[in-house]
Symmetry: C2
Subunit: 391 residues, 2 copies
């Protein structure tokens, strides 16, 4: 299979390229290297060192014996995307090329607008480019795999289904409606808008789409990342880091683990390895032609306080004794809430449970990070949240 | 009251400025004159001649004896908007400054992106500028009046409520959800995204908002437009014209009235005079502080076929004998569907029924247009729809 990855330089894009190459697929990727610059902008860096695009390609050749095409370019420019598709002739396009930080989108009006424009434009360009390609190549159907987020739903009282539409009763009348969503930042809203735009493209043009609602990912390793030269980026700062990865850095630096608010916020998580395995399964098992498949991509559900407690315990086993502290929640979100997302599609494809135990995974992360303690120490200032939703 | 109108040069913006001035309010407006250029881009023009911004201000002074500030500027530039607010100190800001043609948004990827970016950016700029102004001027609350469209809802099976949220039962569980929407073009989706963004601003910052879901407007006159120098623009082409205004131009030119598809599409309409009266009522009666008021703004419900039949009859009375013809519907929309929007807020403010009879109004439109037959003849080619949703 030929797979084009938009946003291949990112935390998920890079290990996905490795996974697909290892499976024997042909892989090309596009990235504008924006995340590298934007993490720098907020005074931080990847917690693990990563190679330049050129060196990444060399490392893949040397270590895995595989060829990989890495195009440095911006998918918000239609011609960049359109040319790459015409040239590479993908069967599947994975779309990760979006600004993916909620706090970054909340910094100010400029960052809000950037996030909405950047994310919506890339997705609109993609549906148009796919449509043009399909019209010019009769019989060819591209499967578009789009990364959304479980955060699109917010924390509803109903069970979150794995489907684009759901039956609802409103004012005594029945209707099929788009699954209701309510996001918690301009970033999350950009993903909701993307989903709505994709549903529309699917309706009028029959674009074949897998829309992945993923929970926060943690981890430093996948089956392919056995050599440190193949590391993916690892963000831990207040703007770019996700919760568990940030806790692990705090533990390594001997800082208290910072729980936002009371920590009752319950989310669906998965390891980097399971994210890759899920993506592989979805890519190798496409939905029916003209289908719109929504997948809730996670393996386990925890509150952020639970995760802090687990991190503290695992860190203690490695001789790191850390406290847990509550910091004022910079976000606007519910502390106590119902949370029950459906989770059937990935099990039906074979991923029935986490392939790695979360505590073992935490142990691996802590060990990887400990080797880079000096690097992390340098960016310590960037860890606490500075962007406040209601500032 | 001090009212700032974003998009004051448009079909609704201009007569609203006149209405508010006549009521004794202080009015300023911003417009980048984009619609003038974009109508020109598709080979058309306003069916009634309109003055330049400078001459509009002079005409208002001469005819009404009122002063009006007209700022030529683009609200997608944050500083333009922010400065205008700081200087004018509005109590109310009316936001019409959006690309408002569905077919224009469907021309190609460039127009799709332009529509989404332009519309979302103006609205985001506005909520940030309002917030900054309120923070710097304690005690001051700006009422934001945003033009949306009844088209945000699509054609649902439930009764369309006048509220941002609605109770729904999903999978046996009850929840309060955002009123479900499903739009029919990138333009309409841009308005849905705007609504979602505004709901979020209201939630986290308490921005006071009236979100108007308006049906298609028809007409050439309001109480203030008694002198032809005060005419608002009047669009009739396949890209920019709304249905009834287009029928009237076809009648004047002796062309068949073009019904899209079978014409069963049912929509909620109102005259330009009633649109102005509704807006005045909503501006002079603001919602509670930090409130989010959704108003379904229309006075009558018709199918597009009904409207064609009425136009034919009224035209016949003026000696214009025209046929009705069905053209292939360029859009993707339902022909037969349930349609029952709630309509309580405007009646509760005093607009209990249409102030003008639709047939009389059609007669006035036909007479106004007949005087400009030569001008319309010149742009005849632009009337039939050329933009196809599935082309």
């Amino acid at each position: 299979m030929r797979v084009l990855i938009l946003g291949m330089d990112g935390y998920l894009g890079w290990p996905l390229a490795l996974r697909l190459l290892a499976r024997g697929h042909d892989v090309a990727g596009i990235d504008n290297l924006y995340t590298r610059k934007a993490v720098d902008e907020v005074g931080s860096t990847s917690g693990l060192p990563i190679l330049s695009p050129e060196d990444r390609v060399h490392a893949v050749r040397d270590i895995m014996g595989k060829e990989l095409e890495f195009i440095v370019g911006d998918v918000t420019k239609y011609s960049v995307l359109s040319k790459a598709i015409t040239k590479f002739k993908p069967d599947t396009i994975v779309h990760f090329a979006e600004q993916r930080s909620a706090p970054y989108s909340m910094i100010n009006v400029k960052h809000a607008n950037f996030t909405l424009r950047n994310n919506l434009t890339g997705t609109i360009n993609l549906v148009y480019a796919v449509r043009k390609y399909e019209q010019r190549n009769p019989g060819k159907k591209i499967h578009m795999v789009k990364m959304g987020t479980m955060g699109e739903y917010g924390t509803p009282n109903f069970d979150i289904p794995e489907s684009p539409y759901v039956n609802a009763q409103i004012g005594g009348k029945n209707d099929k409606i788009v699954v209701p969503k309510f996001a918690g930042s301009w970033y999350h809203w950009s993903k909701v808008h993307d989903t709505n735009n994709l549903l529309y493209a699917n309706k009028i043009w029959g674009t074949t789409i897998t829309d992945i609602m993923q929970g926060p990912v943690y981890g430093t390793r996948t089956k392919e990342i056995t050599n440190d030269k193949l590391f993916s980026r690892f963000d831990f700062d207040g703007v770019w880091g996700t919760v568990l990865n940030r806790y692990c850095v705090e533990a390594v630096l001997g800082m208290p683990l910072t729980v936002y608010g009371k920590g009752g916020q319950t989310r669906a998580f998965l390891s980097l390895e399971d994210s890759m395995e899920s993506l592989r399964l979805l890519i190798e098992n496409r939905p029916e032609e003209k289908g719109y498949r929504v997948v809730n991509q996670f393996t386990e559900v925890y509150s952020v306080k639970d995760l802090a407690t687990m991190t503290k315990e695992v860190a203690a086993q490695q001789g790191m004794n850390v406290e847990i502290t509550e910091v004022e929640n910079p976000r606007v979100e519910e502390n106590d809430h119902y949370y029950n997302p459906e989770h059937k599609i990935l099990p039906s494809l074979g991923l029935t449970k986490p392939t790695r135990n979360i505590r073992e995974e935490m142990g691996i992360i802590l060990k990887d990070l400990a080797k880079h303690k000096e690097r992390l120490e340098e960016y310590k200032e960037a860890i606490l949240p500075k962007v406040r939703w209601r500032k």
